[in-house]
Symmetry: C2
Amino acid sequence: MADPGPAVTAALRAELALRRAELLAVDPRLAADADRLADFALTGKQLRPRFLCWGYRAVREIGGDVVAGTGDTDGTDGTDGTDGTGAPAPVVLPDAVIRAAAALELIQACALVHDDLIDRSDTRRGGPSMHRAIAKSHADAGWSGESDHYGTSIALLLGDLALAWADDLFTAAAAELGVLDRALPPWRAMRLEVLAGQILDVRVGVELGADATAQDADAMLVNRYKTAAYTVERPLHLGAALAGGGDDAVGLLRRYGAAVGMAFQLRDDVLGVFGDPLVTGKPTGDDLAEGKRTALVALARAGLADRATELAALDAGLGRSADPEDLSRLAAVITGSGAPDRVEERIRDLTAEGIAVLDERAAGDAPVLAPAVTRELRAVALAMTTRTR
Amino acid sequence: MADPGPAVTAALRAELALRRAELLAVDPRLAADADRLADFALTGKQLRPRFLCWGYRAVREIGGDVVAGTGDTDGTDGTDGTDGTGAPAPVVLPDAVIRAAAALELIQACALVHDDLIDRSDTRRGGPSMHRAIAKSHADAGWSGESDHYGTSIALLLGDLALAWADDLFTAAAAELGVLDRALPPWRAMRLEVLAGQILDVRVGVELGADATAQDADAMLVNRYKTAAYTVERPLHLGAALAGGGDDAVGLLRRYGAAVGMAFQLRDDVLGVFGDPLVTGKPTGDDLAEGKRTALVALARAGLADRATELAALDAGLGRSADPEDLSRLAAVITGSGAPDRVEERIRDLTAEGIAVLDERAAGDAPVLAPAVTRELRAVALAMTTRTR
């Protein structure tokens, strides 16, 4: 199966061109903002669209215990075809599935743009964050008023637009596939979960008096909803729902997604402290500069429970400075706490747990998910959780 | 026809209770935020839901040239019934239409919460704005970090949640009525238009060098999309679409809505400068304190073209002070410019234009819209544009 990425990019580009024309019909001055949003949405890594396509294929490329490709392009044909030689036919993902996948990049555009407002992040994807870029354009144009507030305001509204457009694109695609009843519940759940995770992320950061164990639990809760459900579990679920998958297939994909998604976020937490800026696109130690309450930090605090001086240095240093030397000292304290080893262990356990789910069989030893797809999901679980960026 | 308001409130309350339960399943600490959003969404004036219901009835209560009520509650029955005595049967709006109407209060919750962030408004609906209320709860609880930024962050995310929930509710209702194909295009258009209007509102405020005529045109453009389309035109269109209305009916309702909606915003502009805080729920002169570039202000600048001192005082005073004496002086300058008379004239013209549309007839002199409903739309046009709050 070829990478669906280019097809997703093409579908997203076509959709954004239509929406740009609608904005310009309101007023041509909206062109710059439409272009900015499109450029941002089109430079994603497309992780979520890929999981949606895997979820679709995991259901569609299986028929009883026979592995087969399906060449139908309208997505409504439940039969599994072979090319007549007994070998699986090449899989062609229906256009509507690709468009549904593209909708996830629009949700992600909203999530990142709004998250960067909340985190007051200056950088994203190796460049300035949306609100910073817009603030700069305001300043460069010599417009009146405060550049920063202008950037915040327009970025907020462009995020809203991306969220509304995501819904439009996904709903139309699911309706075209004739599976609205199955596809809307996980779509609703995904949006609620990622927003609930974001609210919790803000909320748990401000409550005082939490001990390290409670902080770890909170970080894993945020991780579960803000990352795992949103990035892996629900995209797989959406793909399976678009394919008409049953409870068994959806259940396995979700369990895989929850475990691997959490491991993915833990890897991100490690990279946020120790990552190379040339590969992450963010400054080294950016999470420490922002004072993010990650599981890594919670485990570091737990590991320093009887080393009061270092614990105090960690608590005092988080979110206080972006100076590389300060961040390097904080990173050393975290290393000394033993937390990185504990996080690596957790990443390995969760990844193994997710991969093990893929091998579960239905009654009669029939595979629940298409073996060709579970092979890919096994490889991606390892790639995502051992990545360096 | 009884006021649909109580039914809309009940539908909204039921939906919000379901979504609250979903949030609490993620984490019980989300209860306070869920309640805050629900309380806010449930205290709207429900102008948009009412227009949606009028749009539905304007189509449904007509059959050829016979005016009739329809008692069908599933919304899929295209026939027009009477009670057998020749008098129109009582109209019962299908539950799904009420739920679609309730979705507009969720969009509005998002629009107001995000607008108050952009305008940095402290007050809304006679109380603190969402971000101010949340900032206060942060300060009262003695949590760590900046209360203002906490309020901004949570309010932003609650606005996103309201936008996502609005889509969920509207899409499910339209699907239940079996009219997704007709209802989604105006739904898509409405969200794009209101966001485009909000972006333009921010955008036109910062560009320098615009003369008064261009400012007036820009203010009316923002008015057209941010208020008129979103508040009157598209809600009527949505109601007509849910009822299976044809192009003629939709066309008349949209023209009425665009004209009356713009007159409504002009009345709001007048109240934003001269309104009584006891009835508007906003301080007198709030628009002047915020420096809003309304049509009223643009017309005042035009009227002061040859009175340089007063024009300079107006330009210098906008958005500079919330002191009642300063605002009162600015209001007097605007009155002296003759702009309020010109705005009143424009309100009268637009209202008359909107009302005249309602009387247009199809070939054969058949009414396009149900006369019982056009009578109500005539009355509401006058009430909305002559209101004091």
